[in-house]
Amino acid sequence: MKKCDNFVINAAGRKVPTLVNGQEVVAFKGLRQHRPAGRKYASPIPTCIDYPDDGNKIVPSLAEALKKCGLKDGMTISTHHHLRDGDLVSNMIFDIAHDMGVRDLVWLPSASFPCNDPLIKYLEDGTINRIEGSMNGPLGKFTTLGGMKGCAVLRSHGGRVQAIQDGEVHIDIAVIAAPTADAFGNANALNGKSACGILGYALADYMYADKVIIVTDNLIPFPCMPMQVQGNYVDYVVQVDQIGIPEKIVSGTTEVTKSPDRLLLAEWTARFCDEAGLLHDGCSIQSGAGGTSLSVGIYFEEMLKARGQKARFAFGGSTKYLVRMLENGVLDYILDAQAFDLEAVRSARENPNHIDLSVLQAYNYHSKGNYTSMTDIMILGATEIDTNFNGNVVTHSDGLLLHGIGGWQNCLHARNVIIPIPLFRDRIPVLVDNVTTLCGPGELIDVIVTERGIAINPKRTDLIEKMKGSSLPIKTIQELKEEAEKICGKPARPRFTDEPVAVIKWVDGTVIDTVWKLEK
């Protein structure tokens, strides 16, 4: 079977396959064009007859649980990424599969981390056929050089739950690492030595998978409260010594950037939002846990506080800085799909206004509404932005696949999408003629803030009007791109073969771009 076939040029002008890993897929049709048909996918109807009346679903090992789930060639195994780089469970699954001689598995993680690099050997020996999720660092490089047998599929967090819900992906076994659980399978991430706060990425997995295994290192008597995972969906519970390495699960503390260049980006971003009137009483914001975003958040806090205003909700991942805003009364609610540091975990446990949220609720595009489009200010990153404001977050300019999409595509739907990025990294311009890989159409990206100037998308005439006379250096994106090239020189383009190694899905499940194998 060919990895990909039946190529077409999609509405974004990109060459994409309409047959991927033997499955038909739809090419990107443009924003707000694709309407899904049919009914949602569902898992088989279970019966209590098959489960112990005493509620004790414990089996002695993960290997046995996987065997009981009927692990066999070609199955799809899903995991969530909230143990982050400290995750020990994902690798265990494939060690077991390898020992059992099972082949051609599909791994569907909500994200991968450097701790998953050992899985490269199973991609090489055929235990794993492909990853549908994200590929970072060495896994990304391995993929871009054509090492994976199947075609990788990259989806946003929202796109992943959309694909699960719509049945584009069928999960045979969901393995959920849980920091605390009971024998019935109720689980949460708030307590235990591996506490990570929130399990916002596991909901769709356990609702739609054929079989569900909970793996925990903190088994407590029933009931495990609050139940972030409902045991009624769970087949087996496995107790292990350790599901993760605590210091790699959440950082003890997230820190704002000390880089003067990034601080400048943060300051300009905050000033831009302020001068454009985006930051106001009752506004909603999202900024991530990166150093620059955190600093933007601190400026927001100061500005709101100085005016006696507060934000209604902050969205996405939480940090000690958001917690401080919540506790100081500058913010009403944190709607949270992931906790980044110990303060955030504490707040999620203690504060009723720190709400546990799943990506299925927040990011799913095939849903009756979407939180991201209700958010006023969205601060995001990118590896490249082109002169049409198109964005790339998965490959670098040298063509290597090095990052996952995360929630980035979903977040593009916010009212004001602002991307603070350096004009160049070392010698590599971030502003380019054409993005290496298209992850987000320029129509959705409003403002690019660089250390040498700020570019507003020409379609945002309202923002352009508001910023007239500002002391901030407003330039065109073309001017900024030329400035980058003047400093760095015009970069050559990477040389690709015509062999696809990965496809990039848009939030509605259509294929927006293809990642090609690099020439050696």
Binding site: K258, D261, D426, R427, I428, R452, I487, C488, A492, P494
Partner: protein, 411 residues
């Protein structure tokens, strides 16, 4: 690639944490043509570009047989050029310089009275820090050839500083170089004077002879290159003797300010440098007095705890209260704090506005005496108010149309 340890030379930096730099190993050979190996972090995007540039430079220096290994961590082309030229010069004496075009935006000059609240020190041999220095808008940027460069790296640093002066946009900051201590520092001048440096910092200055030598060499180079623009001097007083000679030094030709260097000064005194600075109180007052007597600016030492913004602020306010006009900084984050606190504060501006208007009023009416209400204002107070207004305007603390605004408010 194998190199003969005795015949080969190395320049630049590599390894973990090194960015925007390259490390070059070079050996001249008698045969075999040019063997050029490039290991670059930006190979795909700039590998061909780097090779083209290396060949162009080897053509220029007429080198046909050579072994070169370039380990590149994203050096911009002016950095690569500086590194390669330094390596070539180590093995092949030549008088030819490989000069990249001077950026037109860098061809500006500064005045004697220019505002000098902040001047940012950059180690002369660390290219990554210079690229974005100007965007943080310090009043001056110092490329340091002295203490921030290890003795073994002084040679290569000169080429990098020269290329930085030509190729990096300073975004309007005064272009400064700290040369090495005279007499050794005189040889640095060949690498900086022809490249539009605005001001030289002369370290460990203890007598006027040092400055005479600098002025003489600068004049000779300027005459040779046909440059007529001034090159200002900022001697740094860093010893007990220097402090005692401060007034003589302050009066020397082209000197626009004296700076004080407290690390060396306290070492000279044999005392510890403290947060309160009592040990340097005399020296600071002496320096301020010498500068004011000579009609130039007094510039304070750097504050080295870069994470402590509150401590920096206190330090600036103390410094301003003693009469200093600015201070050095070693991290871009310090610039804003220095500017905000050296600039006149709200009360000072409000008071100055009233006095300024009263002075204008008196002048228009032809009155000899300026008065505010029933109070007479002495001429020195008027002068200070005028200075405050000028500074407030310069630092954006006062809108250009403040007089109109005040009149509308009154109405």
């Amino acid at each position: 690639m194998d190199f003969n340890a005795e015949k080969s030379v190395t320049v630049g930096n590599k390894g973990k944490g090194i960015r925007s730099d390259c490390h070059i190993t070079l050996e001249l050979t008698n045969e075999g043509g040019r063997q050029i190996a490039i290991e670059s972090k930006v190979q795909v995007l700039y590998g061909d570009d780097i090779r083209r540039q290396v060949n162009e430079m080897l053509d220029y220096f007429e080198i046909g047989h050579v072994k070169i290994l370039i380990e590149d961590s994203g050096a911009l082309s002016y950095i690569l050029a500086a590194r390669l030229e330094a390596a070539v010069r180590m093995v092949k004496p030549s008088v030819k310089e490989y000069l990249l075009p001077m950026l037109p935006e860098n061809q500006y000059h500064t005045s004697r009275e220019k505002n000098r609240f902040s001047r940012l020190y950059l180690p002369g041999n660390t290219p990554s820090l210079a690229i974005n220095a100007g965007i943080h808008k310090p009043d001056g940027i110092i490329l340091d050839l002295e203490d921030a460069v290890a003795p073994a790296r002084k040679f290569e640093a000169r080429y990098l500083v020269r290329n930085t002066l030509r190729s990096v946009d300073f975004y309007g900051a005064e272009r400064m170089v700290r040369i090495n201590q005279v007499p050794a520092g005189l040889d640095d001048l060949e690498y900086v004077i022809p490249h539009n440096v605005n001001l030289l910092l002369v370290p460990k200055c203890e007598n006027t002879e040092q400055l005479r030598l600098v002025n003489e060499r600068v004049a000779a180079i300027k005459a040779r290159t046909g440059n007529k623009e001034p090159v200002w001097l900022m001697p740094i007083i860093e010893s007990a003797l220097g402090v005692m000679k401060a007034f003589e030094i302050a009066q020397c030709e082209n000197v626009v300010s004296l700076a004080i260097g407290l690390e060396d000064y306290t070492a000279d005194l044999g005392v510890k440098r403290t947060q309160e600075g009592n040990e340097s109180f005399f020296a600071r007052c002496m320096l301020v007095n010498a500068c004011k007597a000579a009609g130039i600016q007094a510039i304070d030492s750097v504050y080295s705890d870069v994470g402590n913004m509150e401590g920096l602020k206190e330090n600036v306010l103390r410094s301003k209260a003693l009469g200093f006009n600015g201070m050095g900084c070693i991290h871009p984050r310090q610039i804003k704090v220095i500017h905000e606190n050296f600039a006149p504060d709200k009360d000072e501006i409000e008071k100055a506005k009233k006095i300024y208007l009263a002075f204008q009023d008196a002048t228009e009416k032809g009155l000899g005496v300026v008065s505010l209400g029933t109070k007479m204002i002495d001429p020195p107070v008027v002068k200070r108010a005028v200075n405050t207004i000028e500074l407030a305007l310069k630092t954006g603390k006062l809108p250009v149309d403040w007089k109109e605004q005040m009149l509308t408010e009154k109405a």
